[in-house]
């Protein structure tokens, strides 16, 4: 089996956050949006960016971790966190071009998407609700993945120019 990947269709995301709720229920057993490993940022009406780990081929976060708390799940390709080793030093956050690892009050280790061991709850929730903005696919080649390694503001700005055209700057300020 090949490794996995969550494809995000930015044109389809409604900004509903059902993915965040499903993620936190799965990982934390409560509704806890801040602790969700996928984060939706709504910059303007219709410009909602689901932001999560894209499993870079070179895994800079894993390389940067001074305590070897991060490692790759060979089966899925997800970055896993050894919660006992993580010191919350923040090296992985700063080295990640998309600033994906989350530092959250109440947890003494970083939170990163673990692909739910191969069956991501966020994807299921998005499908159940009929939006299909998230799709589970075999991990594409590096050249397909690389353009997605970016901050949500960058995606929002491009998407907004497409949707709002000349009005984009006025609405979004980006």
């Amino acid at each position: 089996m090949s490794q996995l990947w969550i494809f995000r269709d930015f044109d389809k995301c409604s900004g509903c956050r059902l993915c965040e709720i499903a993620c936190s229920l799965r990982h934390e057993g409560v509704v806890w949006p801040e602790a969700s490993r996928i984060t939706v940022l709504e910059f303007a009406p219709g410009i909602a960016i689901p932001h999560t780990c894209v499993q870079c081929y070179d895994y800079p976060c894993v390389k940067a971790c001074p305590t070897n708390a991060l490692y790759v799940d060979g089966k899925t390709g997800a970055v896993l966190v050894d919660t006992g080793r993580c010191t919350l030093c923040g090296a992985c956050v700063r080295v990640c071009p998309a600033r994906v690892p989350k530092v959250v009050k109440g947890r003494n280790y970083v939170l990163i998407c673990d692909l739910c061991g191969g069956e991501p709850e966020c994807v299921k929730a998005c499908k159940e609700a009929g939006f299909n903005a998230l799709e589970l696919v075999p991990k594409p080649e590096k050249a397909y993945v690389d353009p997605y390694i970016t901050l949500p503001e960058v995606v929002a700005s491009k998407l907004s120019s497409k949707v709002y055209k000349g009005f984009s700057k006025e609405v979004l300020g980006l």
Partner: protein
């Protein structure tokens, strides 16, 4: 307690201080949260002097409350309340925004704002960090501009924390700052808690915005396994049972309510029927919507649509517009062009005006102009049905209280009284054009055809006047009753996510979250009537500028007794005898007397004996 923190954040803007206030679990069990809790908090704090409390004075409280279903049940709502500058009673005003979840995630069931600031401020809450911040640079800003400035002000530091959501805000536009009584408390770009007029309350406190960031989890639920199971079922069920919401949202009503049900306001309700097929969801989807699916937090239904139009090189952005906005800023003003009323909706959003209440008062003004009561000298320009430019100018004049806008900014009821005085007319000569109930312009669902959901007593008996989301009706132990609306506004959950879902399922969900053993019977026999009884007494206390007399004001607006002039229901009109009969029956089934005054036995049965002196005050004022 499961589902609650039992804790409110109280902020005093006069002193700039804040504290946490404990709320006993028994209060939540009696009033749930949201609207019920608002009525109870207001009664406890201000009840003994209610009549003298100026809704726009520092004594009033602004309440921002969640409920036990907020953040758990699919969809999202928040309740904004206080003493209403429209009804002088209590309105539970609902708005959709993720800020409801942020409040809970910050560790509170709600926020209580007291006093008033000397200078413009905004409130920033990040968990237990509470700051009253200077808002002098934000004061005067309109919606879109303000949201951009706020976003920059409260930006999360990605380098330290990783990427997180953008902290959401509640805010007012220029209308709220100028104490316009039709100003909502806004959320996101296009939402407003409109009924009640709490934007003016916020403006009176010099409070421009409230931003909340919650980092923690929501309170634990009583039965996690059942909760997840039931929630997943509902996420499948809700959109499948209400698919039209997903496709078209409430704009599907433009043509359906007007053409099929004859219940749509047209030219200040002079008609309720039309056959304009271009005034429909189909023209919106082909001419206006740039994105079909735009959801609020946790909502599988996605009734919002992103709309952008370009008129003469000006761009306008809004949602939908949803049916109420379209009807009130479209057909009610004789405007059937989808681009034009979409633009008006965007203008209202941006100025911080409620589209329903403002569309109601603007339609009223247009008709007064048509009938010659208002003239060009009064207004400064012509008010002709269908004139987009005149309508947009009047919206601005209202928001900034310029010229005739200063009078119309008081809302339809108060404006009618002022115009009568200005013109030396008897109040009823102007009030006959005012389509409102107890200071609230009636929502865009008429009663004359009897083909839409509101019953003849829908607005007559509602404790929230013309609020179309809180209509009264019979049978009393069903969703027709206002008890059901008091329930969902107190559990604080979106009405649309309850459509075609049995009450038993919703009550079961509440029990799964809270661990209570509530049953449907309790909802209709105790909980609902308790909240309605408290709201009714505060409504009848009223004051200081306006009081209600059940013998006069528990009635439909005069227009609803005029026969429909066109369409398949031509000739149908409200029937005074029928209204009187149903009203007395409805009151009696709630345990109120024939004037809608709760009896001693009812107060005792509902655990509200402390209201007895207040009821006496009402009787004394009415001389009964």
């Amino acid at each position: 307690m499961n589902g609650f923190w039992d804790k409110l954040l109280e902020v005093d803007l006069t002193s700039g201080s804040h504290r946490e206030v404990k709320v006993s679990p028994t209060i939540f069990r009696k009033f749930l949260g949201g609207r019920g809790l608002a009525a109870w908090l207001l009664w406890s704090e201000l009840g003994s002097k209610w009549e003298s409390v100026d809704p726009l004075g520092p004594e009033n409280m602004l309440l921002i409350l969640t409920g036990p279903l907020t953040g758990y049940y699919p969809g999202i709502k928040l309740i904004v309340s206080g003493k209403s500058p429209q009804t002088n009673g209590v309105v539970g005003s609902a708005v959709s925004s993720e800020i409801a979840v942020e409040i809970k995630a910050a560790g509170y069931d709600g926020i209580v704002i007291k006093g008033s600031s000397k200078d413009p401020v905004y409130l920033y809450v990040h968990d237990d960090k509470v700051e009253v911040r200077d808002a002098s640079k934000l004061w005067g800003k309109t919606g879109i501009e303000l949201l951009k400035m706020l976003r920059d002000d409260v930006r999360v530091n990605y380098d330290l924390e990783g990427v997180k959501s953008i902290p959401p805000a509640l805010y007012i536009g220029p209308a709220g700052e100028n104490l316009v009584r039709t100003a909502p408390v806004n959320a996101k770009w296009t939402h407003g808690a409109g009924y009640g007029g709490y934007g003016a309350v916020m403006g009176s406190k010099k409070l421009k915005a409230v931003v909340v960031r919650g980092s923690g989890p929501l309170p634990k639920v009583a039965n996690l396994e059942e909760f997840v199971k039931l929630r997943n079922e509902l996420i499948r069920l809700i959109p499948s049972k209400n698919y039209w919401f997903k496709f078209w949202g409430t704009p599907s009503e433009y043509y359906f309510a007007g053409n099929r049900k004859s219940s749509e306001p047209i030219r200040n309700w002079q008609e309720e029927w039309h056959k304009n097929i271009e005034y429909s969801h189909h023209d919106l989807e082909t001419k206006v919507w740039v994105r079909r699916y735009w959801s609020d937090w946790g909502c599988p239904l996605s009734c919002m649509k992103v709309s952008i139009v370009d008129i003469d090189g000006n761009y306008y952005l809004t949602d939908g517009p949803d049916y109420e906005m379209g009807a009130y800023l479209g057909s009610n003003l004789g405007i059937f062009n989808v681009k034009e009323f979409t633009a008006l909706s965007a203008i209202a959003d941006n100025l911080g005006l409620c589209g329903i209440q403002t569309g109601n008062v603007v339609g009223f003004a247009f008709e007064l102009y048509e009938k010659g009561v208002l003239t060009r000298e009064d207004v400064g320009y012509e008010l002709r049905w269908g004139d987009f430019k005149a309508a947009s100018k009047l919206l601005e004049d209202i928001a900034y209280r310029r010229g005739i806008g200063k009078v119309l900014a008081e809302g339809t009821y108060r404006a009618a009284l002022k115009i009568a005085e200005m013109k030396g007319l008897k109040p009823e000569e102007v009030l006959k054009y005012a389509v409102q109930a107890k200071g609230i312009g009636i929502g865009a669902h008429g009663i004359r055809s009897k083909a839409d959901y509101p019953q003849p007593i829908a607005y007559v008996c509602s404790v929230q006047g013309g609020d179309h989301t809180s209509v009264a009706g019979l049978p009393i132990n069903t969703i027709e009753s206002e008890s059901w609306k008091a329930f969902f506004d107190s559990a604080v959950v979106c009405w649309f996510n309850l459509f075609n879902i049995p009450e038993d399922t919703v009550v079961k969900f509440l029990n799964v979250v809270t661990g209570w053993g509530m049953c449907k019977d309790e909802l209709y026999k105790e909980l609902g009537p308790r909240i309605l009884t408290l709201q009714r007494v505060l409504l009848l206390l009223g004051g200081p500028d306006v009081y209600w007399d059940p013998r006069v004001h528990d009635d439909n607006p005069p227009r609803f007794y005029e026969p429909l002039p066109s369409g398949p229901y031509k000739g149908k009109a409200g029937d005074r005898e029928e209204v009187k009969k149903l009203k007395v029956q409805y009151f009696s089934e709630l345990g109120w007397d024939e004037l809608g005054i709760p009896t001693k036995e009812t107060l005792s049965r509902l655990g509200l004996t402390e209201l007895e002196p207040a009821v006496e005050r009402v009787r004394k004022r009415l001389g009964i």
